[in-house]
């Protein structure tokens, strides 16, 4: 995610101030819509600048730019994609709520996406986000699709929304736990003997 105050010209030097302004104007123009999300705007601009710099480099100097992999950015993109997939599966669960078999099918997809999402928080800085993701995954994997309640879908969605936030901390994780518990979505499984086996994750 682009940090507030990042200076564009640190990474993408343009020759003059006028060139920079002209470039930004073109970007704004090409977006063609009202700017409602500044962060998104800056990401669009960065992406366009990226292409321009590459093209200019190839045409002018005959050089090829080699991408330096950015693991943090890759993890972020992976998280966004998986969260979106989970959200999509959840929407399908709701859409198919009246059809038990359909509900089961999409609930299994949801479990798969959440399981994959748990692995997309590799760093120590992601400790609490990972805990929230694991709690959510455990809460759904210990639940049966046929026992799911509509209100629980909203709660799962709310926790997915929390996962969109960067820099989650302990209070966030505890809040997520409370929200899940209040909805009867338990992330600590049964310790009873002769209990029904937990449903497999996927």
């Amino acid at each position: 995610m682009l940090k507030t105050g990042a200076r564009l010209d640190d990474r993408y030097p343009l020759e003059t101030e006028a060139a920079t302004i002209r470039f930004l104007s073109e970007c704004m123009h090409s977006l063609g819509t009202r700017v409602t999300n500044v962060e998104q705007l800056f990401q669009e601009i960065l992406s366009m600048m990226h292409e321009v710099v590459h093209a200019r480099g190839a045409a002018t100097w005959g050089v090829e730019f080699v991408e330096t992999p950015d693991p943090a950015r890759a993890a972020l993109e992976s998280r966004r994609s998986l969260t979106e997939a989970a959200r999509h599966a959840l929407a399908k669960v709701e859409e198919n709520f009246g059809d038990l078999e359909g509900r089961l099918h999409h609930f299994l997809r949801l479990k798969e996406h959440l399981k994959a999402l748990c692995g997309a928080y590799p760093g120590p800085a992601d400790k609490y986000a990972r805990q929230v993701c694991e709690m959510l995954y455990d809460a759904v994997r210990f639940a049966y699709a046929e026992d799911l309640e509509r209100t629980q879908i909203d709660v799962i969605e709310a926790v997915l929304d929390m996962l969109d936030r960067e820099g989650m901390d302990l209070p966030d994780a505890r809040t997520a736990n409370q929200v899940l518990l209040a909805a009867g979505l338990e992330s600590i499984p049964s310790g009873e003997a002769n209990d029904e086996p937990s449903p497999p994750g996927n």
């Binding site: 399981k115 994780a173 600590i188 497999p200 996927n202």
Partner: protein, 278 residues
Amino acid sequence: MTSRPHQATEEGPSAQVFLDTTVQADRVTAALPTRGAIAKALENCRLLTSTYVMGEFKQTFLHDAVLFHKLLTDSRTTAEALNRLERYKERPAKRMVRVFARIMEEGPEDKPSMDKPSMLSRLVRMVEWQLVDNFLFNIDRVLDGTGCARARVQPVRCNGTYNFPVRCRKADPPRCGVADYIAAHKRQLLAVAEHLVTDDADLQRLLRSVGSVLEGGSPRGNTCKSISDLLIALEVPKDAVLATTNTRHFAPLAQVLGGPHLTNPVPENHERPSKEDS
């Protein structure tokens, strides 16, 4: 004699219900439908518990989570750590063993169990905050009559695992208020010593410990443990009922003490673990 807790109505205030260790353990680790049924039975009630109950909970459930974290840190696989767990307990809390086993069952039987880093991450969550948070979930008040030292102990991260000295031994007792608490309730202890007649082995042990305390013996360590049900019964406020699944111990005590009233919020078809099991 137990009854269902009286729930709040529009006309009257909500009932106060004191949750003992058996009910608290069920709220955190029972089968999921049982947890739902308990939550429903206690809905709209004002929920109380105590530091003494929390001390018992920590000494069992949180202690086991810390122990399993240590074993897992020292094992190659989650399955290896689980196999080692029971050998490390004086009285294995089978419930926690089963909780860990179920967390590890990540896929169908033919798939390997959860990998070690994923399991460790879950244990860190449980050890550092989740078990205690779940214990305190929806609790309105935690009473602290005994000043139980076990409730105050927190796991402290140390060399990749946790230091958690939750044990209470007579030889080296932690600072707590149990002696003062017992002194303040001497009349009730005398009543129990004089009037409790029982064939139950646990209650007979309780009676011996009460006698020892009344003769001036230390109430710490195992003595404290053996009179735990009495201490909990004495903690319940007069206008509260005691929620427990352990009527075998609490009903005779309540009869001698003239209260508290008991309630069992756990569904009747719920299989009760033995004392050693929980």
